[in-house]
């Protein structure tokens, strides 16, 4: 069974600073995808970024980038130049065959 662990329940950072959210996972599969989803107060699930396990290059999407360490089963999210609109819950998720397995989330607050 796959597990996803997010060890930081809450984080806060000043606007315009950089913040890194941690995620580790456990799986015996070799081919899988990892995702970060953002959930603002509206509770909608918004895809932030995804990473294919077979790609060594870290994914980037504008201010969002990941540090994917396959051997360590680590998948952290870096948010650069943080903005007030980045305030949300962030969920790390794994999919190996069919279903998404989510972590417990990190509540990120951007302080003006």
């Amino acid at each position: 069974a796959q597990t996803v662990t997010q060890s930081q329940p809450e984080m806060s950072v000043q606007e315009a600073e950089t913040v890194t959210l941690s995620c580790t996972y456990d799986t015996s599969e070799n081919n899988y995808y990892l995702f970060w989803y953002k959930q603002p107060p509206s509770r909608q699930m918004i895809l932030v970024i995804r990473q294919e396990a077979y790609k060594q290059q870290n994914a980037t999407e504008n201010r969002f980038s990941v540090n994917f360490q396959k051997a360590a089963k680590s998948f952290s999210l870096k948010i650069s130049d943080s903005q007030l609109g980045d305030t949300a819950m962030y969920f790390c998720a794994f999919v190996g065959n069919e279903k998404l397995t989510f972590g417990t989330g990190t509540r990120l607050t951007i302080i003006p």
């Binding site: 081919n31 899988y32 995808y33 995702f35 989803y37 509206s42 509770r43 909608q44 699930m45 918004i46 895809l47 995804r50 294919e52 969920f91 998720a93 999919v95 190996g96 065959n97 069919e98 279903k99 998404l100 397995t101 989510f102 972590g103 417990t104 989330g105």
Partner: protein, 114 residues
């Protein structure tokens, strides 16, 4: 940009009543999912659906739950006799390709059971 839609956005029901949550997946997607999130907790997988049948379900998805794709566009989740603990946000998701492609989520239906 195509998106997954869900109706209603909020449903309030009495314990023991039946509810049907509706989803319209992205039109060319083939794989459909329901997830739920109890307030303050993580998102949990309920069921996956492909080719008009359930492909996987979790232990949460007991006999009180059923899913259906009644036509070419809608995907529904029915809860036959709601319990207080069914109160949660229910998300529909869809994806195009098998296995590891991205799942796109709808905005969710907030179900409140009184």
């Amino acid at each position: 940009e195509p998106e997954v839609t869900q109706t209603p956005s909020h449903q309030v029901t009495q314990m023991g009543q039946e509810v049907i949550l509706r989803c319209v997946p992205i039109s060319n997607h083939l794989y459909f999912y329901w997830y739920r999130q109890i307030l303050g907790q993580k998102v949990e997988f309920l069921v996956s659906f492909y080719n008009n049948e359930i492909s996987e379900k979790s232990e949460i998805f007991d006999d009180q739950f059923s899913v259906e794709r009644p036509d070419g566009s809608n995907f529904t989740l029915k809860i036959r006799s709601t319990k207080l603990e069914d109160s949660a946000m229910y998300f529909c998701a869809s994806r195009l390709a098998p296995s590891t492609d991205t799942q796109y989520f709808g905005p969710g239906t907030r179900l409140t059971v009184l």
